[in-house]
């Protein structure tokens, strides 16, 4: 199988990640609870993950709250910054992990910037929306459907200028593009552990520049006589026994990403996505591509997109079709009715993968 669904999760997990998971399951007790060697082993592995993430994302280890997913982190961040009735500015390419929590809180959502691969338009619309007043802003770094790389540094700067607290969804960028809590000044940045960071599913990160509102309350192994959740990071956001094996695997994944280098990963993904986009255009498919694009490309087949993904699957190509849990992004691109077929590359992207995909795509003609 040629796996081109890295936007959903990295697969298969690299051998060092699998080894780290297995080793942690063999030798780790419950961290933060006991002082015996197996518990301390777990404590060390978790801190190793925090340290690796802190170096990659330009923050301190305690600012890294370990979550079960990017969605978990986004919910924590949104619940912290937003209250019912607030006006919240979001980009036109947000995932349901952003829009559903906002909808659930009953906020006024202002969508700003809906043109694909047009950062100038994104910034103009973004500033206009912020100028009208906002209680918070949430925006994705990279569209999970179209691979559009939003001008996140400038969007962050505008939020700071208009003094609007903000959250960045780094679901599709963590592990392939620079993400900096320190430089961006975001209140929160959420990332999955299992996509670009190559860790196991069930892991994620919330990078915090302020104390989050806990979604759950419970034991943290600290200040046990205090019946309030601790008022310090990362404990405030981490009640209950953590996913030690997953976190150990995530640490290994982050280590691999750092060794490979972000620019090398980004280049590989970008060029293979571009190669596929050009090939698909030659085959006559409507393709969404542009200058500011990562390793993800969407196209519209001449049949139902799920049927097309099924045909590609039969020819050994794993892709995702439909709305990709991002109806807002499809609405922005005008593909809400049809959906798209999405191909998304990972750090090991090769020209051979692209050629195999384009060969299989001929079966859609």
């Amino acid at each position: 199988m040629i796996y081109l669904d890295n936007g959903a999760t990295s697969f298969p997990k690299p051998e060092p990640v699998r080894r780290a998971v297995s080793a942690a399951m063999a030798c780790c007790g419950n961290p933060g609870r006991g002082g015996y060697p197996a518990a301390m082993e777990a404590v060390g592995r978790i801190y190793g993950c925090r340290e690796a993430a802190a170096e990659l994302f330009d923050c301190r280890p305690e600012q890294v709250v370990l979550t079960s997913s990017c969605t978990h982190g986004l919910n924590m961040a949104i619940q912290t910054l937003v209250k019912p009735g607030d006006r919240v500015v979001i980009s036109g390419f947000e995932h349901n992990a952003v829009t559903r929590p906002l909808h659930g809180l009953g906020v006024q959502i202002a969508v700003a910037g809906r043109r694909l691969f047009d950062p100038e338009d994104t910034l103009t619309q973004w500033e206009d929306a912020l100028r009208r007043g906002a209680d918070a802003a949430v925006f994705t770094h990279v569209s999970n459907v179209f691979g559009y790389i939003l001008p996140v540094e400038e969007m962050a700067e505008l939020c700071r200028v208009y003094e609007v607290p903000f959250v960045v969804d780094a679901a599709q960028s963590a592990g392939s593009l620079p993400v900096s809590l320190g430089q961006w000044g975001a209140d929160f940045i959420a990332a999955p552990g299992h996509k670009g960071l190559l860790g196991p599913m069930g892991t994620g990160l919330l990078l915090c520049n302020r104390l989050p509102k806990p979604l759950l309350a419970g034991g943290t192994g600290s200040e046990s006589q205090n019946q309030e959740m601790p008022d310090f990071l990362p404990d405030r956001g981490e009640p209950g026994t953590p996913n030690v094996a997953g976190i150990a695997g995530l640490a290994a994944g982050i280590g691999l990403v750092r060794r490979m280098g972000l620019s090398r990963i980004a280049n590989r993904e970008h060029w293979e996505a571009k190669r596929c986009a050009e090939g698909l255009k030659k085959l006559g498919f409507p393709v969404f591509s542009g200058e500011y694009q990562g390793g993800t490309v969407s196209f519209i087949p001449r049949m139902d997109c799920e049927e097309a993904a099924g045909i590609l699957g039969k020819h050994g190509i794993a892709v995702r079709a439909g709305l990709h849990c991002a109806p807002l992004a499809h609405e922005s691109a005008g593909t809400l009715k049809t959906g798209t077929v999405r191909i998304s590359f990972g750090p090991e992207a090769t020209p051979e993968q692209s050629w195999a995909f384009l060969q299989a795509a001929r079966h859609l003609l």
Binding site: P31, G32, G34, G35, M40, V43, G44, Y47, R50, E51, R60, P61, E62, T220, G221, S222, E223, S224, Q225, N226, P230, F232, L233, P234, D235
Partner: protein
């Protein structure tokens, strides 16, 4: 040998402290804080030689690493807070 404990509110703070002290050549042992020293229930501390305790405290302060208290233990096992 006399030794000291530097206590922390969380294991992560203690680990930050351990890393920081290691960088300046101070070896420590990360361990659970003895119940008798812990006022809020459950915590971690760094055990280190008394001879380097004040240097360690200075280093933690320089790097902005939050700690709770410093305790000094005598050879007979009795201990006391060392105000710093």
């Amino acid at each position: 040998m006399k030794f000291c404990f530097i206590t922390f509110r969380s294991v992560t703070f203690a680990q930050n402290g351990q890393r920081s002290l290691k960088r300046v050549g101070i070896d420590t042992i990360l361990r659970r804080t003895p119940k008798g020293l812990e006022q809020r229930g459950c915590g971690y501390c760094l055990q280190l030689k008394e001879t380097v305790a004040l240097e360690a405290v200075d280093q933690l302060r320089r790097e902005g690493i939050e700690f709770s208290k410093l305790y000094r233990f005598r050879e007979n096992g009795s201990g006391e807070e060392w105000p710093v």
